[in-house]
């Protein structure tokens, strides 16, 4: 298992943004999660979906779409876990 932070960013109020990250070895089994880094207690701030592109025989591109559920900007951190490396 190997975990890391792939990217950080900011979403404006109610904004949805798609990030992509490429050249992930196809044999790696990768789990993506996203968390806010801007504290704001009381309600969920973000949600995300993952879409996957087989860019080549050897590489995968992941597309992470993150939605800000609040009416203020939020900083986010996209995290990965490679479960078989």
């Amino acid at each position: 298992m190997r975990v890391g932070v792939q990217f950080t960013g900011t979403l404006q109020a109610n904004q949805t943004t798609k990030w992509y990250t490429f050249n992930w070895p196809q044999q790696w089994q990768v789990i993506w999660t996203v968390v806010p880094t801007s504290p704001r207690a009381g309600a969920p701030q973000i949600e995300w979906t993952v879409e996957v592109e087989r860019a080549s025989a050897t590489n995968i591109t992941y597309w992470i779409t993150i939605k800000n559920l609040t009416n203020v900007p939020v900083n986010i951190e996209a995290r990965y876990a490679v479960t078989n490396a």
Partner: protein, 515 residues
Amino acid sequence: MLPLFGPSEERIKARTTALSMVSSMPVPDLSVYYNVDAPDGELDGLAQRLMKADQVEAAYVKPAGELPLMLNDMLPHADEAPSTTPNFVARQIYLNAAPAGIDAQYAWTQPGGGGAGVRIIDCEWAWRFTHEDLTQNQGGVVAGTQVNDLPSRNHGTAVMGEFGGDRNTFGITGICPDAVASGSSFSQPTASAIRQAADKLGPGDIMLLEIHRAGPRYNFQGRADQAGYIAVEWWPDDFDAIRYAISRGIIVVEAAGNGAENLDDAIYNVRPAGFPAGWTNPFNHNNRDSGAVVVGAGAPPEGTHGRNHGPDRSRLAFSNYGSLIDAQGWGREVTSCAYGDLQGGSNEDLWYTDQFSGTSSASPIVVGALGCVQGALKAKGRIPLSPARARELLRSTGSPQQDAPGRPATQRIGNRPNLRQLIPAALETGMWTGVQFKGTVPAGQTICWYTFNWPAHWHVFWTVVPTTVRSGAPQIRWKVRVERASDRFITYWICITNIGSASTEVEGRYSVLGW
């Protein structure tokens, strides 16, 4: 009157939203801060007049930020330095094994443990970047301009030497000499210097605030003995600038101040005239939390350099104390660059000191320790410590504070870091799975469960399965939503939709994947 954090409100707003700027409190808008430049004698009157304007929420006069000069009045020896500076590392007992030191020598045996890949910015007034022991991994002044003042230059040079002194065979060696060290000068308003430093750093990097100000104990009046001086986060603009850095994942290390104050005292709850109506005392984390690591000054081991300052790791009389303080460093007898009381002469580039003091000398020791930890994590491809995690580990490891007559350990300045504990604690990780909740979702409905107090540094993956058997078609789907409840904790919201035609029991499962 000019915007404090940039050229115009519009540009600050655009920049802060594009970068990252959200506080643990309702989002502070840095664009609304203005700095008034006027003769000192007119400032109070101006503040009162500004407060009468409808569009002004708060107007306050900050006491000047100051260095702890009273403690650092060493003078250079007249004797010229020898042709080769001796090796003074044996005098840097703070590098040694705990409890006397922080065991930087252990850190250096670990890959990356010298701070490789880490950036540090020291915020104060001046430095001597041409010093013979500050030639490697130096970034110079990255914001503001050097103040041409010898006491300020000595101070900054001594600070820089503690964590950034070159690894060589002469002079001193810094705690994390492989980190790249730079300066951001308080030649400009302090909050602006902090903000600009933050813009030059990234997650896991470190910022040091070498400053304290006259607090309310003596009505914000500057004093020669600096009694009543406190940490700068108490002022709203400095607090928001620190929050800006913390929200970018930068560890901010802040000198507690040399005012001999109990920062838990009720005097710090009193909102000064001119502060915003919603201001609350940030020294009480139940109100709000800057996220900074705050450092107090502890005594070095008795007999260091032939002098005694009380029991090892006891609070030094001048050091502020209280629940706010996270960790301590040596507040006396710190051997470093500058001042010239250890090696003097006519060339400032060859000066060394044996007596650098204050929360000023204590804070760089904690910075150095954190630099070693971040470097060790990076060398292993691990995620660097977040500001909150750094604080947790400093509080949960290290050599404990000791009592001194009249200064019991209940007057908290925290533990002295011990890298032999700190690095393994930071490198520790884990993986496990479990079931967090069970419940029922009626047909066609969506129900959200929330689960709180998950440490923010844990990577957690959520899945949901039905436990009611019904074969032939999918029964449920779910969405995970995330709330950062505080710097330390996350609340997960698991929203489960029953897409079948009958009620179903569900089970919410988690996997902690590591950190």
